[in-house]
């Protein structure tokens, strides 16, 4: 114990955790000091969340010890008990919030802190929470139902839950994934203030930039192992990225586009969804072979309508949508798929896969009627599994095999599965809606490479994204959506972020500037 400083709050020693044949954590050790913000950085599936779930008692480790500062220095924490972790002063803010939405913020914070068979201490609890709010700046309306709170407010309730229990260690799992940039900045201010008061913070993330901004020390995990440990102030971005993926991240390069014929064309298309909402107004543009069109815009400005039309989930209320020169009159996704349209949906976990079905089923799901996967109405399971096997290998889908349930895959691997499903058919038109949202650097580069390769093969691609960096990395031409109208911003060369930003905000002057 001599090598552990007196201010140590926490030490994890040689933690190993296996899920079946998968080793999620392989002999990982870490320590945390008072007032320190430690970042746990790694790609999706590197084992960050698993490690923290062991620390918090959701999972039981197969090997290793967790020690938390107690009265007699560092004391061993019983495994598999969130109650024990809470009592020892470990608080955790999960990526998916653990809040009862039918209760108020106050009730959620009190939950489990008072004897069940008692009348409770609601007013004493309120006083203590209000004091914590005043000290930390975590402002939230305690009496409002959690269901009615914004995502940022829900997160504050989660942090208050931990602080109310006098947490010494606060674990935050991907806390910025759900926040706007402004909300994230606010969170960082709070975390720095809490750390200054002696709280130890473990910050799980796969975003390099924010990790460098907030943390004192960085622990990089890769494939379940500790890949390196660095001091944030002196760390080099490039070196950390390489540590994360285990090899130098190749820059995705892109040859100039050679646009061919228009494969899909919107001709003064209007779309009404619901009773009164007009989601698109007289939109005209073309998707040409061998070209990637990026659609920029603040979410909710008509992107969903464009995506629904290209996917075959809707038909224009007015105007014409032409595929290979022929108008589409009926919403028929299957016919579109058969005609060579590939869809990567925005909500890939929800709309892209059937979670309770196997990887093989999900690979085959769009073309179960094709001769490749069925014979006279009977599924050809062998062919489905064989295709899944080759897709898993070719697209590096990390899973336990063709029979694994799709819901067990991480976000990046679900996206690779979808890529494998739609690209193997060599589609002529591709819709990539938020193709890398929530993915780590490695998976992002992989998805981008695949999309560019499809373009070079002659596919017409539309990328819808809220990430401008991504759009600039991929797009040959820019469209900008604002309040259901689409502005053609022209070729990507010569465009900069501020011009796109102005168009996104609806400044038509920017468009006029483009024309002149």
């Amino acid at each position: 114990m001599t090598d552990i400083p007196a201010s140590a709050l926490l030490s994890l020693e040689n933690i190993t955790k296996r899920f079946g044949p998968l080793v999620a954590n392989d002999g990982i050790s870490l320590s945390l000091q008072r007032g320190e913000i430690l970042a746990l950085l790694g790609e999706n599936g590197a084992g960050k969340t698993t490690l923290m779930n062991i620390l918090f008692g959701h999972y039981v480790q197969d090997e290793g010890v967790v020690r938390v500062a107690g009265k007699n220095g560092l004391e061993t924490l019983p495994s598999g008990s969130p109650g024990a972790a809470l009592a020892a002063g470990v608080g955790m803010v999960h990526q998916h919030f653990t809040l009862a939405e039918n209760l108020s913020g106050l009730a959620n914070i009190r939950l489990g802190t008072e004897a069940l068979l008692s009348l409770g201490r609601a007013s004493a609890a309120r006083r203590k929470i209000e004091q914590i709010i005043a000290e930390s700046g975590l402002t939230v309306d305690l009496d409002r139902r959690v269901a009615d709170l914004t995502v940022g407010e829900k997160q504050r309730v989660e942090i208050l839950k931990a602080l109310y229990r006098d947490a010494k260690v606060l674990i935050l799992d991907e806390p910025t994934a759900v926040l706007t940039p402004q909300e994230a900045d606010g969170l960082f201010v709070v975390l720095r203030r809490l750390a200054a008061n002696g709280l130890g913070v473990i910050f799980i993330s796969h975003k390099l930039g924010e990790v460098l901004a907030i943390s004192n020390r960085i622990l990089v995990l890769r494939a379940g192992r500790k890949a390196g440990e660095l001091v944030s102030a002196t760390a080099d971005r490039r070196a950390i990225a390489d540590l994360m993926v285990g090899k130098a991240v190749a820059e995705v390069t892109r040859a100039p586009a050679k646009p061919g014929a228009a494969l899909m064309a919107f001709d003064k298309v209007s779309l009404r969804q619901g009773a009164s909402r007009q989601s698109l107004r007289k939109v005209s543009f073309e998707l040409r072979a061998g070209e990637i069109v990026g659609l920029a815009g603040v979410s909710g400005n008509g992107q969903a309508g464009i995506a629904a039309l290209i996917s075959g989930l809707a038909v224009p209320s007015e105007g014409e949508l032409l595929l290979y020169g022929k108008p589409i009159h009926r919403a028929d996704p299957r016919a579109l798929v058969a005609a060579g349209v590939a869809r990567m949906p925005e909500d890939r976990q929800h709309d892209g896969v059937v979670g309770t079905m196997s990887v093989a089923d999900n690979i085959a799901i769009e073309e179960v009627r094709s001769p490749a996967f069925s014979r006279s109405g009977w599924l050809d399971r062998k062919a489905m599994r064989a295709r899944a096997q080759s897709a898993i290998a070719a697209y590096d889908v990390r899973c336990l095999g063709p029979d694994a349930e799709a819901r067990l895959l991480s976000g990046g691997n679900v996206q690779k599965l979808i890529l494998a499903r739609v690209l193997e058919r060599e589609p002529r038109v591709i819709l990539a809606n938020q193709p890398t949202r929530g993915l780590d650097v490695g998976a992002q580069a992989e998805v981008h490479r695949r999309i560019i390769a499809a373009r070079d093969r002659g596919a017409a691609v539309m990328v819808i994204s809220e990430d401008l960096d991504e759009l600039f990395a991929l797009s040959d031409r820019f469209l900008v959506a604002h309040e259901g109208e689409i502005t053609d911003a022209g070729p990507a060369e010569g465009l900069d972020r501020s011009t796109i930003g102005l168009l996104m905000a609806g400044h038509s002057a920017a468009a006029e500037g483009l024309a002149s």
Binding site: H96, G112, S118
Partner: protein, 315 residues
């Protein structure tokens, strides 16, 4: 219209409505507790039968009336425990397990009754609960006979409405029950046992359901008949939705149903020659379906209802 006012104007009608509502109050409260914790208990119909039989048999064999009530509650708790083991511990389908409990509890009750009394042809009777007079209240003209001349079990049912509302909304236990039915992860992350809470809620809820059955054999009637529960459990399942899982509205729903039923009996006597009797029997059920359509579309379901919880599983 005169017929309508004649019926609504009689104290006797309101007394009957409350009497008919009493077993439903027990049942709907029991179902409400289970569902608030996230477990649908379709064993309710069978648990009613078990409560009716067990309570009655205990008194027939010499126990006191309140002893009978206790035995009924224990019988209900036992079947509740079985349902909890199947659905909470083993994570089986709540629908399938519930229907199974109903079939099992009904058959076991009939079997026990036949085994205990192999030779009787007319159901033996016990000295059942009698209406009590509450000094002062029961003597108020109209209101007294309408509201305050009921058996002790009716007052017990009304007391439970208040107790359960208080526990659900004013105590840490109620907080935990409401949370576990909305998002079990919230409960586990705060160091409480999801299983413990759910098992407890199902056992307690089932005990209450059994009291609904016991009311039938020990208050409303004084004997046990086959088929006497007659769908009351199923009505409770619908009433919980009608009540949006709130005890106060549950009481209202049960009273409303009781009023419909009392009303149809009296309407039948008045104009039974013109309209076939079966139409009147349908009336309360039809009206409860209409009420459900109006209310339930806006209902705020416990989000985790029907979802089993496995600790340590990836969600």
């Amino acid at each position: 219209m005169d017929v309508l006012f004649d019926i609504l104007g009689s104290a006797n009608f309101w007394a009957a409505a409350i009497r008919i509502a009493t077993p439903l109050i027990f049942g709907v409260l029991g179902a409400l507790i289970c569902e608030r914790a996230g477990v649908l208990n379709l064993g309710i119909e069978g648990i009613f039968v078990a409560g009716a039989m067990a309570g009655w048999l205990a008194v027939y064999l010499g126990a006191g009336l309140w002893g009978g009530v206790l035995v009924a509650a224990l019988a209900g708790a036992l079947f509740g425990l079985l349902h909890a083991i199947l659905t909470v511990v083993l994570g089986l389908s709540q629908h399938v397990s519930g229907i199974g409990i109903t079939l099992l509890a009904t058959s076991v009750s009939y079997f026990t009754y036949r085994t205990a009394l192999p030779d009787v042809s007319t159901p033996p009777r016990i000295a059942a609960f009698q209406p009590i007079n509450i000094a002062g209240l029961s003597d108020i003209p109209f209101l007294g006979p309408a509201l305050f001349q009921q058996t002790p079990m009716t007052f017990l049912a009304l007391a439970f409405v208040a107790i359960i509302a208080f526990v659900l909304y004013r105590t840490p236990l109620g907080l935990a029950i409401r949370a576990v039915g909305d998002n079990p992860a919230s409960v586990e992350a705060q160091g409480l046992s999801v299983r413990g809470l759910r098992i407890g809620a199902v056992v307690a809820g089932s005990a209450l359901m059994a009291l609904g059955g016991a009311f039938l054999t020990m208050s409303a009637f004084d004997a046990f008949f086959f088929g006497m529960v007659n769908g009351r459990g199923w009505i409770c399942i619908a009433l919980v939705v009608f009540a949006s899982w709130q005890p106060g509205k549950a009481l209202l729903g049960a009273l409303l149903f009781g009023a419909f039923d009392a009303f149809q009996i009296r309407l039948q006597a008045q104009i039974g020659q013109v309209v076939p009797g079966q139409v009147f029997l349908m009336l309360p059920y039809l009206l409860s379906i209409v009420a459900l359509i109006l209310v339930a579309r806006r209902a705020d379901y416990p989000r985790a209802l029907l979802q089993p919880w496995t600790k340590g599983q990836r969600h």
